[in-house]
């Protein structure tokens, strides 16, 4: 058993687990049903197909860069413009990056990895208008979810790593865990069926935690050269160290 590491990044993503009707919320991290849906799309399962062995995969998420909430207001009219549909509000996470570890039998993970290289359906991060940006696949790693999430390098965007002026960074994680775990939380996010006529979700137990990893772009502070003041590029806050 090992883990497949994915990096989910895009200008916008949306991971709703309790969205209904005209207000479509997003959680602050990718949902299990969202990630399994992504893998199901890659492996060519239609919405009405059973998820089969994908349900045996365990998912762990690390929040590399939390991003921020954006609200999108949407109007809709019938094709002839006569009927106005209810106004809807859709929430997105803008500018967020997540590391997702998928834990399961090696052979299944290899199948999934191959599928992600040439997905049967175009991939998207929670909503069709959110195609992934950059490199999605970050290789296979030995170990369980906790281990891989604790050891994977920090995958935040370079500009975030540069702004974080400390050698280490502490990141939040959310991972599947056995129901017997004393600190487990219960969330309704276990996909049973994506069939649009009767979508079904069950409960799953997750464990929230934190890990600390090195910041690859940390440079120890050096005296500011005079050149930095030329061309209006001076950052007066540069002299302050952020507390870790």
């Amino acid at each position: 058993m090992s883990c497949l590491l994915l990096r989910l990044a895009a200008p916008l993503q949306s991971w709703g687990t309790s969205s209904r009707f005209t207000r479509r919320n997003t959680d602050r991290a990718p949902s299990r049903s969202g990630v399994l849906g992504l893998l199901a799309a890659a492996t060519g399962r239609r919405r009405t197909d059973p998820l089969e062995e994908l349900l045996d995969l365990r998912i762990g998420v690390r929040i590399e860069q939390p991003g921020r909430l954006e609200r999108d207001f949407q109007t809709a009219r019938s094709r002839d413009g006569q009927i106005s549909m209810p106004l809807s509000y859709r929430f997105y996470l803008a500018d967020a990056v997540f590391a997702v570890a998928v834990h399961g039998p090696d052979q299944l993970l290899e199948t999934v990895e191959q599928a992600l290289r040439a997905p049967a359906f175009p991939l998207y991060l929670g909503r069709r208008s959110c195609p992934p940006a950059g490199v999605l696949l970050h290789g296979m790693h030995d170990g369980d979810l906790a281990q891989v999430l604790a050891e994977a390098p920090w995958l935040a965007s370079p500009w975030v790593q540069k702004q974080h002026r400390a050698p280490m960074v502490t990141l939040d994680t959310v991972a599947d865990c056995p129901a017997t775990e004393p600190r487990a939380e219960l969330v309704r996010d276990e996909p049973v069926s994506f069939d649009p006529r009767h979508r079904q979700y069950d409960w799953r137990t997750v464990l929230s935690s934190q890990v600390t990893v090195p910041n690859p772009l940390h440079r120890s502070p050096t005296p500011i050269p005079a050149a930095a003041f030329a061309g209006g590029g001076h950052d007066p806050m540069a002299v302050f160290e952020e507390p870790i």
Partner: protein
Amino acid sequence: MPRTILDVHIIQSVPPSNINRDDTGSPKTAVYGGRRRARVSSQAWKRATREAFPAHLDRSELGMRTRQVVEVLATEITRQAPALAERAADLAGEVLTAIGIKTKAARKDGAAPESEFLLFLSHRQIESLAELAVTAATEAGDGKVSINKQEAKARADREHSVDIALFGRMVASATDLNVEAAVQVAHALSVHAVDNEYDYFTAVDDSKKNNDDEDAGAGMIGTVEFNSSTLYRYAALDLDALCDNLGDATAAVRAAEAFTRAFITSMPSGKQNTFANRTLPDAVLLIVRQRQPINLVGAFEEVVEDNAEHGRVHAAIGKLAEHARELHTAFDETPVAAWTFGIGEKKIAPLAELATHTTFDPAVRAVGELLGQRLAASS
């Protein structure tokens, strides 16, 4: 089986405008790369694309082989309910009559009747009309089959079938045609940081102006928010999915061409009379791939600065080409073919290294030709 995916990448400058606003009237925005950007939602540009279809799609070109619609429908009825095999042709005729399509005897003896005209029905429409016939036949038992005309007409709405095959449809009621979209459109984002600006306006009351008893104030004051931006627009079209939805390779290629033309040249109409902001793209890159669509928005995670040399468009095109090259290397990705066109030899030069440099119409035709060849090869 080789897949076929068409990526459309567009760099487009829009002058002061408010083409897509939220409920407070502000132009939509989003933060990317830590900086606020102008945003045009995918749904807004999809609607504009849809509206532009009639100009680019001659519906008579679609539905090449569906004079045999009775036969096609009968086959589908038999597939859904083998017990009805013997009555399938009659049921198909009943359904067509309910829609209001006249049929006549086939030219060949023993073949099913044909419709008088060429008829375009998508794959899913055929399925759902057959479903209607099967349900009606089951309900009637040995009695007379009655098919609800309104329901049949709704299911055969041919005007919709191409846009639905492209953009999909998700309706909760099970009787409806749920179709998985073949096209993915991303929210357009500006390649540079944007602050919305305010236009303060006063509206003069003409009648008040001519009346000496009235004060000299305006009839109304207010503000209109706007911004101007150079946008990166992206859409991906899954040709195999489109062919699957339409059930006809020729129709799929025509629809793909029409989508490409409409997406490139359309613009959401928000406040267009206030700003007259309709522009055409500065640069377009069309890439045909065989593994997966690739969104190149990462090129602009770091903003194009306002003081970029030779202007924003030039810098954006350079970044786009560089990022495409880097991603192709990282993904071991070799595009099947690519075309580019846009303003000025010099400005397009970085993209011309990745793609065949041509103009709008030849590029779309070349794409269509390649898509047709690939569909023919994979069928």
